[in-house]
Symmetry: C2
DNA sequence: CATGGTGTATGAACCACTTAGTACACACAC
DNA sequence: GTGTGTGTACTAAGTGGTTCATACACCATG
C-alpha cells in the first residue's frame, strides 16, 4: 500500500480549525470501519507528516480525541482507538444528528415544505452517487 | 410596531462572521417576502444599532450585498432591495442548494443510506414544528 | 450656513488558530 | 550507553479575518 493507509487523499477547508477536521476525519474512518476498536493509529509526528501539517496541530487533534474518549494512549506506545463500544456506537449518531440539525437549522427561517427538502436531498444523493461512479474513489480493504 | 420591523429578535452565532450572517438574514427576509423588491432598508448606522453591532460591520454586510447585486444604493439615500427579479428569484435556490450540498457533503464519507437520511430529516422537521408550536414565534404581517 | 443624517474609506486593535522552536521523560534496538 | 522513536508540555511568533474607532464627503433641512 503506497498511499499510507489512505491518509494522503485528504483535503482540508480553511474555514474550520484543522485540528477539528482531523478529529472528524478519524471519526468518519471509525464509523465506516476503516478504523477498528483497539487499532493502533499513526504517531503524532507521522500523521502530521502524512497530512502535511505541523506536529503541534496533530498533537492538538489527538489530545482532543483523547479528551473525547475516542483514543487511548498508554506510555509511549502508539495511541489506539478505544475499545469502549458505547463511545464507538455513539459517534455515528452524533455526527449524523449534528449534521441534520445544522442543516435544518440553516433553512428553518425559509419555510421550506418538507416535501421539497426531501426531494432536494434525494436529488443531491443521486448526484453524489454518480460522481462517485465516475471517479473510482478508494474502497480498498 | 415596537420591535422595529422584527429586526431585534435576531441571534448570531460566534462561528461565522457577523457580516455574513447579516447578509444571510436579509436573504431570508427576501425569500420569505418580508422584504420586497425596491423596498428601502435601514441605514448602516440604524441596522447596526438595532442588531447591536458596530456600524462598520453593518457597512461590510451592505457592501457584500451590494456586490452580490442584492441591494442598490444611489447617493446618500437609503439603500433599496434590487428590483432585478432574476436575482431575487435565485436567492432561494441558492440558499437552499448551498444548505443541501453542505449537508450531504458533511455526511458523504459515512455511507449513510438515503432512506435513513430522509427519516432523520423528517424527524427533525416535525421536532421543529413542535418547538414552533410551543413558542408562538413571530408571524406578524 | 450649521446641523444631522447618509454612504464611504482607512488603519489600528483584536482574536483564534496555526506554526515554530525547544525541551523533557520514556522505551526499544543496536 | 547511544541513538532514534514515542508522547507530552510550554512559550513565542506569525497569520488571516473580523471588528472597532475615527475621519471624510455628501446632501437635505431648518
Amino acid at each position: 500500500m503506497d498511499n499510507h493507509g489512505g491518509w494522503m487523499e485528504t483535503a482540508f477547508n480553511t474555514r474550520d480549525p484543522v485540528y477539528l477536521q482531523v478529529v472528524r476525519l478519524f471519526k468518519e474512518r471509525i464509523v465506516t470501519g476503516l478504523l477498528a476498536a483497539g487499532e493502533a493509529i499513526p504517531s503524532r509526528r507521522e500523521i502530521a507528516s502524512l497530512l502535511k501539517m505541523n506536529p503541534n496541530t496533530a498533537q492538538r487533534a489527538y489530545k482532543e480525541m483523547e479528551e473525547q474518549g475516542l483514543i487511548v494512549t498508554e506510555g509511549n506506545s502508539p495511541s489506539r482507538i478505544t475499545r469502549d463500544e458505547d463511545v464507538l456506537r455513539n459517534i455515528r449518531s452524533e455526527l449524523l444528528g449534528e449534521a441534520v440539525r445544522t442543516f435544518m437549522g440553516s433553512i428553518r427561517n425559509m419555510q421550506v415544505p418538507l416535501q421539497e427538502i426531501v426531494a432536494l436531498v434525494q436529488e443531491e444523493y443521486e448526484s453524489d452517487a454518480q460522481r462517485r461512479a465516475r471517479k473510482p474513489g478508494g474502497e480498498g480493504a
